[in-house]
């Protein structure tokens, strides 16, 4: 007990356990809601996890991984921005533009897979980077807040795709594009077979590699040292001779590139075409993923897996127990609420364990950005 107390009295340790505690509280409150509405929570949760393939159904587990793949990449995009002091709320738009470019190449070109697929994925990354670069440049040059400009960019992406798809790559219906060629698809036979016909695809490797690269940049390189310094204290970074504006642009580009990759995994690996007139919610979900993952690559991967499990299993839960799948939304909302309300959790830790030594407060970057914006 004493050991736990000393462990919990350190703020950085608290930060590590807060996400887990949030998840626990989310499930707990979900269970209470179910009991009140007359359901059996244990059974519902068992079905939820079964539906996500956690009890040995590899096909279902494959679907869980597919959902987690794109989410982890948008989560990384948002987390990378956060770590460098930028709130990239435009991941959805970057994802859509990246996905559109990938699909465009996937439909219009006819090349062997070994060239076609990397080309399409690179196009997605580049388009995402360019779409992220614009808010970066606006911020660096004219001090336009990236939240405003990247939201604008989201809608520019939506309407550009709305125009370009029917114009250049129209499919069976007016509202969607043609299907990409097989040579540009991220799906490969051996993975599909391994997971017994699930839509799992090579995107999962892209996500894993991206998480490792992001970790490596942030923790090991001088470039990451600069980016984080700019994010934590712009004035001190300037004092130290770091090009603040250049780093803002580069950071937005990397964030956008990650979102673009998410677009590649989503459109080249899952949907195989682009629908018009909608802004994918993946980019916004990425904010929640990054928040729950405390903006670290490993945390983002873990929290995207949780999101994947919940989304993949909810349909099965509803079918098997008649617990409405909206309940999963309630649980997710509660988890995100607690993950965001770190101060509240800290207070609970203090009260329950009577831990005294809680050092200086840190403000949650998301909340700060939404409320205050530029300091």
């Amino acid at each position: 007990m004493h050991k736990i107390k000393t462990f919990l009295s350190v703020e950085s340790n608290q930060n590590k356990i807060i996400p887990f505690l949030s998840v626990f509280l989310g499930f707990l409150i979900g269970a209470i809601v179910m009991i009140v509405s007359g359901f059996n929570p244990l059974e519902a949760y068992a079905r939820l996890f079964e539906g996500a393939g956690l009890f040995g159904n590899v096909r279902r587990f494959g679907e869980t991984l597919v959902l987690a793949t794109s989410l982890s990449l948008t989560g990384l995009a948002v987390a990378f921005g956060m770590r460098t002091g930028l709130f990239n709320i435009g991941a959805s738009g970057q994802l859509l533009m990246g996905g559109f470019c990938a699909v465009f190449i996937g439909i219009t070109l006819d090349l062997p897979k070994i060239i076609h697929l990397p080309l399409a994925v690179s196009a997605a990354m580049l388009a995402g980077a360019l779409w992220g670069m614009i808010p970066g440049l606006l911020k660096a040059r004219f001090n336009v807040h990236e939240v405003v400009s990247s939201i604008m960019m989201n809608w520019i992406a939506v309407w550009s795709v709305y125009y370009f798809v029917p114009e250049f790559i129209k499919g069976k219906y007016d509202t969607e594009s043609a299907t990409i060629r097989n040579s540009a698809s991220l799906r490969v036979d051996w993975l599909t077979d391994l997971f017994k016909g699930s839509s799992i695809n090579l995107g999962i490797f892209i996500a894993i590699i991206a998480a490792i690269v992001v970790w490596w940049i942030l923790e090991k390189t001088t470039f990451g040292f600069e980016l984080k310094a700019v994010g934590l204290n712009k004035d001190a970074a300037k004092y130290a001779g770091i090009h603040v504006n250049r780093n803002i642009v580069l950071s937005m580009m990397i964030s956008g590139a990650l979102a673009g990759l998410a677009g590649a995994t989503f459109y080249l690996g899952f949907t195989n075409n682009v629908k018009i007139g909608e802004l994918p919610s993946l980019g916004f979900d990425g904010i929640a993923v990054a928040l729950l993952g405390v903006n670290t690559p490993l945390g983002v991967v873990l929290s995207s897996l949780l999101f994947g499990v919940m989304n993949a299993g909810k349909g099965f839960m509803q079918a098997a127990t008649r617990v409405p799948n909206e309940l999963v939304q309630i649980i997710m909302a509660v988890i995100i609420f607690f993950a965001a309300a770190t101060q509240l959790i800290r207070l609970i830790i203090k009260r329950i364990l009577r831990v005294k030594n809680v050092p200086i407060q840190v403000t949650e970057p998301v909340i700060e950005e939404i409320n205050g914006g530029e300091k």
């Binding site: 310094a229 204290n233 001190a236 130290a240 001779g241 030594n357």
Partner: protein
């Protein structure tokens, strides 16, 4: 005469420290009572307890001889206690009147009756000789005037007990003088005042009695008239303090920094530095004396590259560095101890090791081909911790945010001095630090001088300039109005120059 405030045997604990340990403060009606102590002595905690922001673990508070429980600042206000905070709490784009009535607006039906309030404020202002214009915008009036608005705010709320928290930290010598008069006036009108400060001169000038705290403990209460300054200093620090800095005669050599006709704009695009000329030589400490806001900040930022230079020439060791980038300037041999250590000097959420390589992380041995060498970075910090006696909980991996102000400043000095720059710029290097840290920092600056470095010291504290520097220049409205050997000048003369008079007698050494 009875006591208006009695705080008896107050104890306030925070995790890990006892901020107030059995502290007693008794303020008589109609007196100015000074509360003296170093940073961290527990002055602010004690006043926060009185103002209802903290609840004491033990002890009794009496106001007008009645025991009270002050559970929040509103209770304190109702009891007639008001506080002038060190950092003013004013809305810049509101008028004086609007600021004062904020939270208790007088109304005529639903209509805000601003003129009635303004009239009352004018009357109060006249009664206490504050000469505040009720219709002026806060952003248009001086800092000293803003402080008077804070005072009026309390008077408007019928406060009888006024707490001043380090009120002179932001004022010019003239404004300090006027504030002292205002405090005396308040006293004759029957108000009681608690003055929190660590400046002995001010206590001598205005206070009747003085309570001394040290490390959270009550030391004693003395009659100011009967207690000499050095005795109060001894009570405050707990040992004999030397106000004089030991140093040998300077042996200045070649010119290191030469500034010619420098012009710099401030954030509002107004001239902050105007045709400024200056030279600092190796082996000397050049002090720039002046009241805050006369272009010191802009001058330092221009030299270090943080601010755009309109025109002029800056040479370092004979090389033109005027328009080099910040990094190039740093590399060419400038060390900079910035005025605001939290804003510019440190990344508070980085650890000590990372902060120690803030300007050198991209060089060997701290990184190779763009990859950081964590071991070398930490070893470097451990070495500096030893060498400069930086106290930190977990050594090189201590988050800088958790360190004390004095140790944060030592860390910056360690970093800047260790790079061995030919010019060391120290801007307000001892601001907010206690006597021990101040002594250390002064001796370090002198040590650098003795090693043959050029040191440029900018300070608003005349004592610091007079004690530490070998030559002194006075900056007024962006220009150096006079330069002389420190030995040939005195506080009076500098004070006059700082205030802008005697400009005609300018001469250049």
């Amino acid at each position: 005469m009875g006591y208006v405030i009695e705080m008896l045997n107050i104890r306030k604990e925070f995790p890990g420290i006892i901020a107030n340990d059995n502290v007693t403060l008794q303020v008589k009606k109609g007196e100015i009572h000074a509360l003296l102590g170093e940073n961290g002595a527990g002055k602010s905690t004690l006043m926060s307890v009185l103002f209802g922001m903290y609840q004491p673990e033990a002890g009794v508070i009496k106001v007008n001889e009645r025991e009270v429980k002050i559970t929040n600042p509103n209770v304190a206000n109702d009891l007639g206690i008001g506080m002038v905070h060190q950092h003013f709490k004013l809305v810049d784009v509101f008028t004086v009147t609007e600021n004062i009535i904020l939270g208790m607006e007088p109304t005529k039906g639903v209509h805000l009756d601003i003129h009635k309030a303004a009239k009352k404020i004018k009357e109060l202002s006249d009664q206490y000789g504050l000469s505040v214009d009720p219709y002026a915008l806060i952003q248009d009036i001086s800092v000293g005037m803003q402080q008077r608005v804070e005072i009026l705010k309390m008077l408007y709320r019928n406060a009888d007990i006024l707490i001043f928290d380090e009120p002179t930290a932001v004022l010019t010598p003239q404004e300090i003088h006027e504030l002292m008069n205002i405090m005396r006036r308040l006293k004759t009108e029957g108000k009681s005042i608690v003055l929190i400060t660590h400046k002995l001169k001010e206590i001598k000038a205005v206070a009747d009695r003085c309570t001394v705290l040290r490390k959270g403990k009550y030391i004693s209460t003395v009659e100011v008239k009967e207690t000499p300054e050095h005795e109060m200093a001894r009570l405050m620090v707990g040992r004999e303090v030397s106000f004089k800095v030991d140093k040998s005669e300077a042996k200045p050599k070649e010119t290191v920094l030469k500034i010619t006709n420098l012009n710099v704009l401030d954030n509002r695009k107004l001239k902050a530095v105007e045709n400024l000329c200056l030279d600092v030589r190796a082996g000397e400490i050049f002090g720039i004396a002046g009241i805050d806001g006369n272009g010191q900040k802009e001058l330092v930022e221009a030299i270090t590259g943080l601010r755009h230079i309109e025109s002029g020439l800056i040479e370092l060791n004979g090389v033109d560095i005027t328009n080099l980038s910040i990094r190039k300037k740093t590399e060419s041999g400038i060390g900079h101890i910035p005025e605001d250590r939290h804003k510019h000097g440190l990344v508070l959420d980085y650890n000590l090791g990372e902060n120690m390589v803030l300007q050198t992380y991209y060089k060997e041995p701290f990184s190779t081909k763009g990859l950081l060498n964590k071991d070398d970075i930490l070893a470097n910090a451990e070495r500096l911790i030893q060498e400069f006696d930086v106290r930190s909980g977990q050594g090189a991996v201590t988050p800088v945010r958790s360190m004390s102000g004095g140790n944060q400043q030592k860390a910056i000095i360690a970093r800047e001095v260790d790079r061995s720059p030919s010019l060391l710029i120290a801007s307000q290097p001892t601001r907010g630090l206690d006597v021990g840290a101040i002594e250390y920092i002064h001796s370090r600056l002198i040590e650098e001088r003795d090693k043959g470095k050029a040191v440029l010291l900018i300070s608003f504290e005349l004592d610091e300039i007079l004690n530490v520097s070998d030559r002194v220049g006075v900056i007024y409205e962006g220009t150096i109005v006079d330069v002389d050997q420190t030995a040939n000048t005195n506080e009076n003369q500098l004070g006059l120059l700082m205030a802008g008079s005697a400009k005609g007698g300018a001469k250049h050494a």
